[in-house]
């Protein structure tokens, strides 16, 4: 999966602007960054610095105006919409600030969701879901719906959902942003474990210096440029 020199993510000369009415608002300005396999990278920076945009480009839910984003040897900016959907399902695990669990589904069903896009048998799916929930320590809350869980527990279910397909990279956007200190520490422990024990490459956007401490590398973005 890794590119040359064990690089898993390679962002080359990427530019990205948004348009508000007809006014162009540059967000990323000629950004280049390489992330080696097994890295735990934290992107920090003030609001509007473009860190979430960079994360979205790496995760394949947004496209650069210029430049290329190569993940696991694939230039994802060149993929069609449906190829990109397929690619995300296989290679990216998402952790969101507000967990983004589907409220009508149980923890089990939420974790199972990405597996519906795979060809695994019913039995294999079941094993994967149980494993992922065990990994995050929520085997006993499998049949609870998100509304019956605490914020920390919800985020752990979301992490289980992110890792259940064993994706190439994990992207986390402010994973502790909505949590109290204790829960935030637990989530960071969990991400740390996934990185160390399971060798998951993680790219995390955060405001929280305590969260960033767990990362191997911290990069700062300011006004669309890496500093």
């Amino acid at each position: 999966m890794a590119g040359t020199n064990g690089t898993i993510i390679s962002v080359n000369k990427v530019r990205k602007s948004y348009y508000r009415d007809t006014i162009e608002i540059p967000v990323l300005n000629n950004i280049s960054i390489n992330v080696p396999e097994g890295e735990f990278l934290a992107l920090m920076g003030p609001s509007g610095s473009g860190k979430t945009t960079l994360l979205n480009l790496i995760a394949g839910i947004d496209r650069p105006d210029e430049g290329e984003v190569v993940v696991g040897g694939v230039n994802i900016a060149a993929l069609s919409e449906s190829e990109l959907s397929k690619w995300r399902a296989r290679h990216v695990g998402f952790v969101f600030q507000f967990y983004n669990l589907l409220p009508v589904l149980t923890a089990y069903e939420n974790v199972e969701l990405p597996l519906l896009l795979t060809n695994l048998s019913k039995k294999e799916k079941h094993e994967h879901v149980e494993f992922a929930l065990k990994l995050v320590g929520l085997s006993d809350r499998m049949y609870n719906k998100p509304g019956q869980l605490s914020g920390g527990q919800e985020q752990r279910v979301a992490i289980a959902r992110a890792v259940v397909t064993d994706p190439t990279i994990l992207v986390a956007d402010e994973p502790t942003g909505d949590l109290d200190k204790v829960s935030a520490a637990e989530i960071m422990e969990l991400l740390d474990r996934l990185n160390k024990e399971y060798k998951k490459t993680i790219v995390m956007v955060t405001h929280d210096p305590r969260a960033a401490e767990k990362a191997h590398t911290v990069r700062h973005l300011e006004k669309g440029e890496l500093t």
Partner: protein
């Protein structure tokens, strides 16, 4: 790969009130739609049941009903002399010369009068139409100013009871019996002796129609051929009795269908808009969920079908409830003036498999039309902005 149905289903359950109101809108439209079709079908069924496949009815070609048909005694004799006509054991032709006319009578249920068919029949009429059975009193006597009334007449017409009298053609006729005709058109008629009636109406030796039995139903084609090749019979046309009465329902059934469907299609716009608002609401409330599903790798078409299925589910539930409610209408009968006979006829709402299928299809179409734009919008959402909607 599809977004699981349980997601769609549980979302419907999670916003019960909105879902229920949308279902109600569709239920009402489907109820009216089914009711109209059941009404038209009821008219047809009643009139089709009036005619027998084995009886042949001869009427004047240019007439559009029994009342406007005239057939003179001489022509009747020519027809009855034909080979194919069945004979009674006594050797007489097995037939009834009917005279049908319409009189005005006051109704029981409200102040007003209505048109009622009075039918004069020959003695063989009861054998030709075995569904007509006396249930109260007795049959009229031949040669007397006596009549019997159908069940529906007894219900609808003021003072129509055994022992009472009704004025026809200037004379008072005594009601001596009441008959049941198994819910067919005869139930809405008054019967008497044809000769007495032609006399009272001043139409001696002229009848409305001739109904006869053939020696064998298979002989209809040869009978018709002989009939059509006879120069004296060119103004008349033989049909099976069933076909004749079926045609008597055509205008009415068509009118009910066209008017009813026109009205329900207009109503349906309301239900479609209701479904659309509900589904747009669903998409707006679940924008982040849609963004999440798309980020996880679910394709646009999966999102499109999930939301479309949600709308179709709402519509189908509404459709089923509407049809179930409409099915209770079968216990009701109503009466109306039939355009073809100018006489009031009583009939029941009648449900058929075809009506059930059409009603459910109609519901599904409403769900599709109402759900498509919101589902399309959901599928087209930009992932990044959808996720940011939180």
């Amino acid at each position: 790969m599809k977004i699981p149905l349980k997601y769609t289903f549980r979302n419907l359950q999670s916003r019960r009130l909105t879902t229920a109101l949308t279902i109600l809108g569709i239920t009402l439209v489907v109820f009216v739609f089914a009711a109209v079709l059941m009404m038209a079908h009821g008219v047809e069924k009643t009139l089709v049941a009036t005619g027998s496949e084995e009886n042949i009815l001869i009427s004047r070609k240019a007439s559009n009903g029994e009342i406007s048909s005239i057939i003179d005694g001489e022509t009747v004799n020519i027809i009855l002399a034909m080979n194919q006509v069945a004979r009674t054991p006594a050797g007489a032709p097995f037939a009834t010369k009917d005279v049908a006319t319409v009189i005005n009578l006051p109704k029981t249920d409200y102040v007003g009068i209505t048109n009622v068919t009075v039918r004069g029949v020959s003695p063989d009429a009861f054998a030709l139409r075995p569904m007509v059975k006396i249930v109260e009193g007795r049959a009229f006597q031949w040669g007397a100013r006596e009549i019997i009334i159908g069940n529906s007449i007894a219900r609808r017409i003021l003072n129509a009871r055994v022992g009472g009298t009704i004025k026809i053609g200037g004379d008072q006729w005594t009601i001596v019996g009441r008959f049941d005709a198994e819910g067919c058109g005869f139930d809405s008629e008054i019967w008497g002796d044809v000769l007495q009636l032609t006399d009272a109406l001043g139409r001696s030796n002229a009848f409305s129609t001739l109904t006869l039995k053939l020696r064998s139903p298979q002989e209809f084609d040869s009978f018709k051929e002989a009939f059509e090749s006879d120069a004296r019979l060119q103004q008349f046309v033989p049909k099976t009795e069933r076909q004749f009465f079926e045609e008597q329902s055509e205008t009415m059934a068509l009118f009910i269908r066209v008017l009813g469907i026109f009205i329900t299609v207009i109503f349906s716009a309301g239900a479609v808009i209701g479904a659309m608002i509900t589904m747009y609401g669903a998409v707006a409330n679940r924008t982040v969920e849609i963004g999440t599903l798309r980020a996880l790798g679910f394709r646009r078409r999966s999102v499109l079908s999930a939301y479309l299925i949600e709308s179709l589910m709402i519509a189908l539930i509404g459709g089923i409830v509407g049809v179930v409610l409409a099915s209770f209408l079968q216990f009701f009968s109503i009466s109306t003036i039939n355009f073809d006979s100018f006489a009031e006829i009583e009939f029941s709402f009648a449900l058929s498999t075809g009506i059930i299928i059409s009603s459910l299809m109609f519901a599904v179409v409403m769900g599709f039309v109402g759900g498509f734009l919101p589902a399309f919008r959901a599928a087209r959402l930009n992932i990044v902005s959808a996720l940011r909607a939180s």
